[in-house]
Structures are given as C-alpha cells and as structure tokens.
Subunit: 248 residues, 2 copies
C-alpha cells in the first residue's frame, strides 16, 4: 500500500452555487478523511447539469485514489447524479432489484411512485452504500463513492461508505498558538523553519475577531519525529518573538 | 451586455482541505453574486501548491466571465497566490509602490519586515482592491479578482472588489414550502411542471431534523411572469397533494 492515499470531493447541486444552501459536506468529509490518513487534494462544486458532472467526475477520478460525491440522488427531476456517474463510467444504469427490495421495507407497493423508483436507479456493477436514515442507498463504483447531499444523511452514510477505503499513513498535526503576535513579525523566521524541513508542512492561519487578528501555526507531517522537531522550533520562535521588546 | 454573466470561485488553502478550517467564503460570495445577477457556475478548492493554483485558475478564467479567489495573500511562506496568479497570466510580479505606501500608513518603516513586504507583491498591470481591515490589498487582473481568505477580511474587500463587475439580469426566486410532504410523493408531478417550463429552473431541497424530512421547492427564473406561473403551479400541486387522503 502506498504511503499516500489521495481523494477529491465533488459537491453536486445548484442550491450550493446559488448561495441558498451553505455547503457543510466538504468540511465534514475533509476532517473524516484526515482522521483515516487519506489526503484530500481538491474539492469542486458543480451544478445539476449532466455534462458538468461527467466532466468533473472524470477529471477527478483519474487523478485521485478516491472521489466522494454528495448530492443529487433523491427522487426529483433535478436528482441526476446516478445517471451522470453511469455516463462517466460508460456503463448502463437501471432499476436495481436490491434497492427495490429495501424500499419495499419502507413503502407499501402502492406508494412506490415512479419518482421513488428513480432512487433505485444504480449504475451497473456498483456496490450499494447503506442509508440508515431514509433507506435510499448511495453506491460505490470503481473509486467513486456516491452519497446523499443532506448533511445528516450524508454523515450517516459516510461510515458505511468508507468501509474498504484504505488510508495511508495518518497525517499528524501540532498546533502552536501565536496569539496576537502578527504574521508579519514571524513570517521570515517561519519561512526559514519551513524551508529547512521538507517533510513537514507548516501553515499560518489568522482569524479576525473584535478588531484583532489572532494567529495559529499548524505543523503537519506523517513523521512523528520530524513533527516534534518542527513544533519545538516554531514554539521557540514564538516565545522568542513574544519576549522581544520590539513593539507589536 | 449579455443577459448571462458567469463566475467561478477558487478557494486556495491547505487548511480547508485538511478539514481544520471550514470554508465560509463560497456561500457568502455565492449569495452576493446572486444578488447582483452573476451566475456562479463552479467552485473549486485547491491546496497551497503553485501548479495546482495555476492550472485551476487558467481552467476557470478562460471559461467564465469572472473568477473570485480567496486565500493565500498574507505574509507567510504558504501565501503564494499572487505569484501563482502572475504565472497563470504570464506576467511579471514585483513589489508595488502603491502598496508599500499603504503599508507605511500602518507600519513604521522599521517594521516593514521582508514578510510584510511580500504582501506588496502584485502582478504587473493589476488594479488594487482596498482592504479596509488590515491594509494589505487584494487585486484584480483581467477577469480575476483576488481576495483574502479570512472571512471577515474577504467580506470587507468584496464590496470594493465587485465595483465594475457587470451583472446580468438578476435571477428571481420563489420558495414553496412543501412541509412534510415527501419528495417521493410529488416528484412525478414536479417533473411535469418543470419539463413544461424550460425558462424556469426548479429544485427540491430536503432537510432532515429530529427524525423528519421537510422539503422546500425553489423556483428560479430571470423572467418574472414565467416565475409566477411556475410558482403558482407548484403551490397548487403541493396544496392538492396535501389535501389528498392518501397516507403520507
């Protein structure tokens, strides 16, 4: 198994691009992947347009080890993800008997409307991903994992979705609170620390509240010894600059 | 002026992909663009890697009327957006005298560290975008608008950034609350309404709380008459199905 396992997220839905709905899936999946040692390398949001979904999916699935999609697997006319995924893979799609059986546990046969039957459309050869909330499953085909868009439903599916996803070495992180020490005062020293340590990635993240910036420096590495060395260097740098008599 | 003006958002930053920071800029910019009649067609999140930023920016700027970027314009070594934008456009980059002058209003000359001077690196030919919070400006070059990543700073820049951005006809929206009426019960009728109205886009958006789904149907169009016709049709459909004696 390679030490580095990569992934991308494809969020599908006009409602995100119109600003009506604020995406919460990218952040949730990102945290989850970090925990299991999968490097999230890219995320995209595309509208409910088949050729856009197909193009983005094909770009991402050839480039990364896994692609996680959210959205567009419900029963209404704007739910076109399953058909787009089948088209991207060049496989057929039809009503899946396994899904119809699941849905009949929830709906009496007379309520299995054509709209609901749409949720049983699964690309040929895909494995189902159980949906503990509302039955209609997600699916996995090749390296693409297709999930619902509603955050609580997606979250319930994700645990099932990542069964079998192989993570690489987990990314370790350490946080150094730079407090109100301005980035402009430590930027040069931090660059030197970062450049001397190629196996470590160091980021500086300001936040702004009540008229003040506060900064966090985050050190990331897959090597625990390198991480600790870098963390100690950053901490010493911050302590040194905070003790410095120069005006902030 | 064309009736349709398009845009994309490019979010730049490892911290979003690692899950450490939850993006709030896509949703904010999306809402803002909808208000001024600009259609957001795509959003991407890429890491702090120059070739990734260049490739994504060139893909987006050739395809859409405007590209809004957030992140990577601070003073630390991981802030590489300005250099990546210059590379994408094939132009030079250097310290901009206008920015140095702005920064000298904030910092005594002795505190204009090399790190801070990095924030004055602006691609040749770019216009500056004022930053009312922390002085270091964003910039606009061609159809690309480069802003800070910290949400409150980005928001303060955005009003200045969109001066001169021409919107098309504004997208009008109407919302019909389907309440607890399941999507699976109205999906077929909604498809008929949508297919009969090609100038209107209709979406169905479930949310899930306390063990129940609730659904909103959103009708969007640039034509007020078509919007009202579709809204009335959706509302009648919902009222009809709610009055229906069939079990939910």
């Amino acid at each position: 198994m390679s030490d580095t396992v990569t992934a991308a997220i494809l969020v599908i839905g006009d409602e995100i691009l119109s600003g009506r709905t604020k995406d919460r899936n990218i952040g949730y999946i990102a945290e989850h992947l970090a925990r299991i040692g999968v490097d999230l390398r890219e995320a995209r949001v595309v509208p409910d347009i088949e050729e856009e979904i197909v193009a983005a999916l094909n770009a991402l699935r050839t480039r990364y080890d896994y692609v996680f999609t959210t959205g567009g697997i419900g029963p209404t006319h704007d739910d076109i993800t399953a058909d787009a995924v089948a088209k991207a893979f060049g496989v057929g799609i039809g009503e899946d008997a396994r899904v119809i059986a699941m849905m009949l546990e929830r709906y009496p046969p007379g309520e299995l409307t054509p709209a609901r039957r749409r949720m049983a459309r699964i690309p040929d050869g895909a494995d189902l991903i159980e949906n503990p909330v509302s039955k209609a499953p997600g699916f996995r085909i090749g390296n693409v994992i297709v999930m619902a868009g509603v955050p609580s439903v997606m979250q319930a599916m994700l645990d099932n979705a990542i069964i079998g996803v192989k993570g690489g070495a987990a990314m370790l992180t350490a946080n150094v609170d730079a407090g109100s020490l301005p980035e402009g005062r430590y930027g040069d020293a931090l660059r030197e620390i970062a450049e001397a340590r190629p196996t470590v990635s160091i980021g500086s993240y300001p936040s702004y509240n009540d008229g003040r910036f506060r900064n966090q420096i985050v050190v990331r590495s897959k090597d625990a010894t390198a991480l600790e060395d870098a963390r100690a260097a950053v901490e010493a740098m911050v302590a040194n600059l905070k003790g410095d008599a120069a005006p902030l």
